[in-house]
Amino acid sequence: MKYVDEFRDAAKCRPLIEKIQQTVTTPRTIMEVCGGQTHGLLAHGIDEALRDCVRLLHGPGCPVCVTPAQIIDHAIQIAAQPDVIITSFGDMLRVPGNGESLLECRAAGGDVRMVYSPLDAVRLAQQEPDRQVVFLAVGFETTLPATALAVRQASQLMLTNFSLLVSHVRVQPAMELIMQEPGCLVEGFLAAGHVCAVSGYQSYRPFVERYRVPVVVTGFEPADLLTGILECVELIERQTPDVVNRYERSVRESGNSAAMALVREVYEECDQEWRGIGTIAQGGYQLREAYRDLNASLRFPIQDLSQQFFDVAASPCRAGDVLTGRIRPSECEHFGTTCTPHNPLGAPMVSTEGACAAYYRYAPPVSKTESPLP
């Protein structure tokens, strides 16, 4: 496929690896924020190839992993009502809330459907006028234009049977949180390329000023990832923290203004609960007051969930440590033993973009027992 295959070509990757090895004077620690990049790095063996010179920490960028369990519980509660169809992305259906997942809810008779696009959910609402269609809207800035468009279309079509259960998250406040951690090891960030395609990268300038770490906008194919890493280690070595775009074919400095106008019309920033991490100030988006009629959490108010709550402190899952790069998945004592994709203890092992699932799938057995980070 054009713009994929050329950037996957091993012949283009080898010199990049060599250049990275030549550039670093001591092993450097870089965090990739996006779960898609985590998978790319592991699937193509980039983490292994750079093992001696770059330590890659995996960030919180799996939206499915950080969606609060209560939202999933709420969606399951809504699905239990008559004449309701719950829709979401496939990955979101597999992650359990405090009890079951939406897929399990479907097996028990709930009408839960996977859609490829929120716009498909709008079409479903048009086709099923006698039923309520709810879309569970999760994702980072990349996904915001699609769900904002669904809201605008439904409102233009005056659909009274469509609503959104929103749990959107923002990348940058999570990066701030990581930098504020005592003993933070991160020397540079690979910024999520598709997030930046939508929202641009100007907002990283104050971040770089404040924390003195470089931020390199990076794509997803092996040559893109390596180009981003090379730029990042060069900036670290030169001690010139800056924001640099290395995903030039898709990202402009101010992002996509048409997409951002749509997003701002529909959403506003809000404090947001991140699963495994806690509440992040301005860490998410909510529907604006003008679209309250399309807000599923108002249309289907939550019933008492208290008996269903697990004791979070008693959960053995170390998702919070994994999501903030404090440990690698393989350092979790449950990894690969009591926690596997078939029998997951936490969201990062369930979601196909979760770091634990990526390690389970791609990391060679030796990495599972590697020594912990210093």
Partner: protein, 85 residues
């Protein structure tokens, strides 16, 4: 979740700003995609599609420039190998 795939616009279907759609081809597979966020796209342009919505255009000149740089690097490495051998 943030996966986005590049595809080529092959046919505009609806020019309405909110319901803008086109047929986009991904390595032989055709899908209907919203172009509401890239209304300036023309037939033959490449767009990056996520969750049924094109989120940006792919800048072909930038892509060609970066690929040329990568090829240069590759040639350089080739030379280096020659010397070492």
């Amino acid at each position: 979740m943030c996966l986005a795939v590049p595809g080529k616009v092959v046919e505009w279907l609806d020019p309405d700003p909110l319901f803008a759609t086109a047929v986009v081809e991904f390595g032989g597979i055709r899908r209907t995609v919203s172009l509401a966020c890239v209304p300036e796209s023309r037939i033959g342009d490449y767009v990056l599609v996520h969750a049924g919505v094109a989120i940006c255009q792919v800048d072909e000149e930038e892509a060609a420039r970066v690929l040329a740089t990568l090829e240069d690097l590759e040639d350089h490495l080739g030379d280096g190998d020659e010397v070492r051998r």
